[in-house]
Amino acid sequence: MSNAFQVKDLRFKYKSSKEDTIKGVSFDVMEGEIFGLLGPSGAGKSTTQKILIKLLEDYSGEISYFGKDLKSIGKSFYEEVGVGFEMPVHFSKMTAMENMKFFSGFYKQTANVQELMEQVGLWEHRNVKVGDYSKGMKVRLNFVRAMLNNPKVLFLDEVTNGLDPKNARILKDIISDYRNRGGTVFLTTHLMNDVEQLCDRIAFCVNGKLYEISTPRDLKLKYGKREVKIEYKEEGATLDRIFPLEGIGLNEEFQNILRTKEIETIHSGETSMEDIFIKVTGGVL
């Protein structure tokens, strides 16, 4: 696997702000993975994405895209990447289909718009003006827009924000499929669900810095409470006990409960990603 992006000591300051918004971050996005930036609002996630898609240019540090300096790559970059923005990006007085036709006309290679629109449930609303779309429909249309050119790398800024659970699920399934077919995804989110259900690797982002770039599983192993909670019946009441996972096989008390009581549930102590986030960054999501 090669690196889609390699970012070293990236710093960025908006002209109007006093201090750096991105304060020296380094990370790689590997080809074929879903890489997620997780962090609270204002952390600098969208700014980082805007730098990677060449919308913001006056950054310091190094960014390479498939081995080439990002700054040296011309407009052909946009043949290869698809970008989903957080806010709507469509001509509101034109229909969804007119919008998609307009944008797709500029790419050498285009996806099957009908198929995409059907997948996200917008096909029957294709001739409705985007201005009359609900917020969730606009979010889904943004996603279709991002996929229009069959991108090699997909950027998604808060892709499920404002979607109901069903539609969020549909988008996540499409994104996973896309990755399974070899696509690379860079996404930003403040939602734990997105990270746990989608990302192969994540980085915690707070106040322009990154903490702990890792897989969700490794984070849970590293920071999760290693314990087992057991619920059982005793004299008509439900009781619970917590045991350390370490040496559980030799734990007499635990074994005893298993042997003698009516067990209702057993859970390994999963620490939520949220708890881990707070533990690692000291910040709140």
């Binding site: 913001l56 407009k75 698809g82 923005f85 806010m87 001509f91 007085k93 307009f102 500029f106 827009r145």
Partner: protein, 239 residues
């Protein structure tokens, strides 16, 4: 080139879609009706003013309104995610903004011809409209890029009109003396309006035409190169 054509067609499609083109066509037709009641001389005098207003003021308002509208819609960002150069995106906007000027030039010329039998060199008028249109598009972008919404860009437009267009109108009505006209030539709007007047009246002052053309071309290059191009991208990224 192919992309530029698609971009321009997209802009024109939107002008129709947003009813801007149809409305301006109706206004132009109202002018024709007025021409029916004017003498040939009066019509000849008023025609350049009509064309000038569409080339300058209307295109400034059009570019300002569509810039703020599109920025709010986020479509400029989306267009920047296409394999198209920013120069092409800007050029398409400039070209399509000239449609209003061209449209009123065509309607006005046709009215002059069919109602009063007046003809002049249409090619010269076309060239002057392009030169004046590009310069005013540059001014329009500067006003739009330096205002936070359409309302405040109208404020800036007023601030532009007072020193740059008002004296030119006073001059047209004879309130400002002829000997001060060279001063007025510093106003891109006056330069534009005198070029258009020359074309329609077929009465050329070669030196003024030369200075007017050179000045507007020079101004367009400087404004686009140093004030519009650099700011356009960072402006679109915001929000």
């Amino acid at each position: 080139m192919r992309n530029l054509k698609k971009l321009v067609l997209g802009e024109l499609h939107r002008l129709i879609n947003y009813k801007i083109l149809p409305i301006s066509l109706v206004t132009a037709i109202i002018w024709i009706i007025i021409f029916l009641f004017l003498s040939e001389e009066e019509a000849r005098n008023i025609a350049p003013l009509l064309i000038f207003v569409d080339v300058s003021m209307m295109s400034i308002i059009l570019i300002g309104a569509s810039h703020h509208f599109e920025k709010q819609e986020g479509t400029i960002k989306s267009m920047m995610m296409m394999p198209v150069s920013m120069g092409d995106i800007l050029l398409a906007k400039v070209l399509s903004s000239m449609v209003l000027g061209l449209e009123s030039a065509i309607v006005t010329s046709a009215a002059l011809y069919f109602i009063h039998g007046v003809t002049f060199n249409y090619m010269v008028l076309l060239i002057f409209i392009i030169i004046a249109g590009v310069a005013h598009a540059a001014i329009a972008f500067i006003l739009a890029l330096n205002s936070k919404d359409f309302t405040s860009s109208l404020g800036l437009l007023m601030a532009y009109i007072l020193p740059f267009q008002l004296p030119s109108m006073l001059f047209t009505f004879g309130i400002i003396e002829k000997e001060y006209e060279w001063l007025l030539m510093f106003s891109p709007s006056h330069a534009a309006s005198s070029l258009i007047t020359f074309a329609v009246s077929s009465d050329y002052d070669a030196l003024k035409v030369l200075i007017g053309c050179l000045y507007l071309v020079f101004l367009s290059i400087v404004l686009f190169r140093y004030f519009v191009y650099s700011k356009f991208k960072s402006n679109a990224v915001r929000g």
